[in-house]
């Protein structure tokens, strides 16, 4: 009898649990850019599906259209995405326009501490206003702009000897921006194995964010600042400082003297293509692509190595990467928050890194084995220690497009001087901040 009662109670409990689970099971849609780490996330999320009973679907948009598509979705209050891994610069708009759910209470309730994540990523991907403990995203994918090169070419005696003769120093990973340029210029137009190769593939894309992400990789090491005092919007003397002018001139010289012909509108895809097709000795791109590059059967493995964006007056790398946010228009916010909770787990974060995603969790980054876990892991850590990001203001798109125009006009279209380009940029940005009521 006792056994029978126990069985009945157990059966009822199981049935109730099943019903409750069925009632809560949701189909969540996660939106992100279409690139290598997105595939890793699909793989990783299978574990979440098994554990939670929710199903995941994904909306991955190619990078050139990602901002347009997703910002339109948010601005129209669209319900396509329950979770969004949005670019770091969107955080201001996401918070101020009410697109993202504020996560502080949720983090407190679930014991998720932002102190467990790398400080630079929390600052860049999660907080708005910047640096305040108001969180709108969990750091999901750490990233920065770095460099990779043909290790096999750098190791060849004939090339090393020619380099020594040309420059008076040994051919090695560049340790300054000027060495980087010198190395690229050495390879420019050189014959290697019967093929003409070029120095380096850099970002020059006009339409979205390409040339800005490229040029800031030169500006930051020269000491470029957006404002004289953070939060003051006082840009005169900072944006157009002598160091900024020199860095911009440097980037133009790089473009003119050390890149393949026709690289007038190039971004991530073109950089990868140039390297994989054996056209260039070096290339800049986001760390997110490095696992795929290392695994490439033709130019990966022993033929490739990586280095952090070289310093000049100081260390500095352009920040990439994103945080994961819950979209305020989603009708499945509880399930979406469950995903965030699951994703914040250190074990899941370790798997994320193992699969090719860049975890920002300190448990992963500070693990003694991390630096040796991949040939680019140490460089990634170094880069994340000196990252700078573009404006993250709600009007970031307007600020970004102004910079795209001014820089492309000067670097690619040969219009005006570096000083004029930066002066005009200040005018554009001032107008935007005046419209925003911040000046």
């Amino acid at each position: 009898m006792k056994f029978s009662k126990l069985t009945t109670v157990s059966a009822l409990s199981l049935a109730a649990a099943g019903m409750s689970s069925a009632a809560q099971a949701e189909e969540l849609t996660l939106c992100w850019a279409a690139w290598d780490p997105a595939n890793a996330l699909v793989e990783l999320s299978k574990e979440f599906e098994e554990q939670s009973g929710h199903t995941m679907s994904f909306e991955f948009i190619p990078w050139p259209n990602f901002a347009d598509r997703m910002l339109n979705e948010l601005n129209s209050g669209g319900k396509l995405c329950d979770l969004l891994i949005g670019d770091s610069q969107w955080i201001g708009g996401g918070a101020e326009n009410g697109h993202y759910v504020k996560l502080n209470d949720f983090f407190d309730a679930e014991g998720i501490s932002m102190g467990d994540f790398a400080d630079a990523t929390v600052y860049a991907y999660s907080t708005w206003p910047k640096g305040t403990p108001n969180y709108y995203a969990l750091p999901a994918m750490g990233d920065a702009n770095g460099w990779f090169y043909r290790k096999d070419w750098f190791a060849r005696d004939d090339i090393k000897a020619a380099f020594k003769e040309a420059t008076g120093r040994d051919l090695a990973e560049p340790t300054t921006q000027k060495e980087l340029l010198e190395t690229a210029q050495f390879f420019q137009g050189r014959e290697i194995d019967g093929q003409t190769v070029y120095g380096a593939a850099i970002f020059t894309e006009r339409g979205s964010e390409g040339i800005t992400m490229g040029v800031t990789s030169a500006l930051y090491p020269w000491g470029f600042k957006y404002e004289n005092e953070p939060g003051s919007y006082d840009m005169e003397g900072a944006v157009n400082s002598p160091e900024a002018v020199e860095a911009l001139e440097f980037y133009k010289e790089f473009y003119k003297t050390a890149t393949p012909p026709g690289y007038t509108n190039s971004y991530m895809g073109e950089s990868l293509d140039a390297f994989k097709s054996g056209q260039v000795a070096m290339a800049m791109n986001w760390f997110a692509f490095f696992p795929g590059l290392y695994a490439d059967p033709n130019t990966g493995g022993e033929k490739i190595d990586f280095f952090v964006n070289p310093p000049q007056n100081q260390a500095g790398s352009t920040l990439g990467g994103q945080g994961i946010s819950v979209v305020a228009y989603s009708e499945k916010q509880d399930a979406a928050l469950e995903y965030i909770k699951w994703f914040a787990n250190p074990e899941v974060q370790q798997k994320w890194w193992d699969l090719g995603g860049y975890s920002a969790h300190k448990a992963v980054l500070e693990d003694p084995g991390f630096v040796d876990s991949a040939p680019f892991a140490g460089d990634f850590l170094e880069a994340m220690g000196a990252v700078q990001d573009f404006w993250q203001e709600p009007a970031y798109a307007e600020l970004l497009l102004a910079m795209q125009k001014r820089i492309h006009d000067y670097v690619v279209a040969d219009q005006g001087t570096a000083q004029e380009a930066l002066d005009k940029l200040i005018e554009d940005w001032t107008e935007t901040f005046e419209d925003e009521g911040k000046l």
């Binding site: 708009g93 026709g262 007038t264 798109a397 492309h408």
Partner: protein, 315 residues
């Protein structure tokens, strides 16, 4: 009563409905028929236009719905008309418009004149010539991008073959001097067949007896061309120019695929710039003023042109 469709419809109308309609005048019935169309026209054309005019006097941003909207008077219009960058966009658009129309009319008319002559394989050549205009602009933009590639592009190699220049020594899409011409070339390649078809229709509408009469009057071929062919095809040509002018004024997809508006802003046509203002920068009020200025420009030019076209047709 004769058996006509109208009487059959009258007989088939249910008496209840017939009684209702009986009280209505012809004018009222006509209004009932046209009302849905007028309603649709108002809803999807006139109302948005009025709304855009209204927005053009504000600082409204479609991505900042929680922000107060202020009326700023004519400030948006002032800013646009005093912005040197926008005037450069206008110049780029004018350059694109003028040269595409010029080449398309010239080549299109020549092709139509050649195709109009009876020869073997005439139909096959017509089909081959019209193929480019059947392609999607996105596809055309992408493959011309490859053709213009300095290292592997066929276009550069063809130019190199005839000029002896190094193919990778010039960049059609990357050079400030060449990029405006590169988009003209692609648009001309794609849309010349359209102009050719319209001209062909014009040429085929000229009755043979006019030429026969001219032959009897011993008019030379050149004289026949300038006094018969050109005047009679002119209304068709002007129509083609109108279509291409309107189409190219709003050119977007092909140029975005080819150059993205670059290098710098050399090929940033007004439509590309307008899209950036409206849907990337989200300056909705400003973009509305910009759109109104463009609308007035196109509408004004098109009206003048249509009047000229009507005069030519009346001759």
């Amino acid at each position: 009563m004769s058996d006509t469709p109208i009487t059959r419809a009258a007989e088939a109308t249910p008496p209840v409905m017939a009684r209702k309609i009986k009280g209505l005048s012809d004018r009222a019935i006509a209004w009932i028929f046209v009302a849905p169309t007028i309603f649709l026209l108002l809803a999807i054309n006139i109302f948005p236009l009025i709304w855009t005019i209204n927005l053009s006097f504000t600082n409204f941003r479609a991505n900042r719905l929680n922000r107060d909207v202020e009326y700023v008077g004519l400030r948006n219009y002032e800013r646009i008309l005093n912005d040197t960058d926008i005037w450069l966009n206008m110049q780029a658009t004018a350059h694109f418009l003028f040269w595409t129309i010029f080449f398309q009319v010239l080549i299109g008319f020549t092709l139509a004149w050649l195709i109009n002559r009876k020869f073997k394989g005439n139909d096959l050549w017509t089909t081959i010539i019209v193929l480019p205009m059947m392609l999607s602009p996105a596809v055309v933009g992408n493959f011309w991008k490859f053709l213009y590639q300095p290292q592997i592009g066929l276009f550069n190699y063809i130019v190199a073959f005839f000029t002896g220049k190094d193919p990778s020594s010039f960049e059609m899409l990357g050079s400030v001097d060449l990029a405006p011409w590169s988009i003209v070339i692609v648009d001309t390649w794609m849309w010349t067949p359209f102009v050719m078809l319209i001209c062909l229709a014009g040429l085929r509408s000229i009755p043979d007896y006019i030429y026969e009469a001219a032959e009897i009057d011993r008019a030379s071929k050149l004289r026949q061309f300038f006094t018969i062919t050109v005047p009679m095809v002119l209304p068709f040509l002007m129509l083609a120019v109108l279509f291409r002018g309107i189409e190219n004024f709003k050119m977007f997809d092909l140029v975005v695929q080819l150059t993205g508006g670059g290098p710098g802003s050399t090929t940033e046509l007004t439509s590309i710039n307008l899209k950036r203002e409206a849907f990337e920068k989200w300056r909705t009020g400003y973009a509305s003023a910009y759109a109104i200025i463009l609308f007035v420009t196109v509408f004004g030019l098109a009206s003048i042109y249509v009047k000229a076209l009507n005069k030519v047709k009346e001759r």
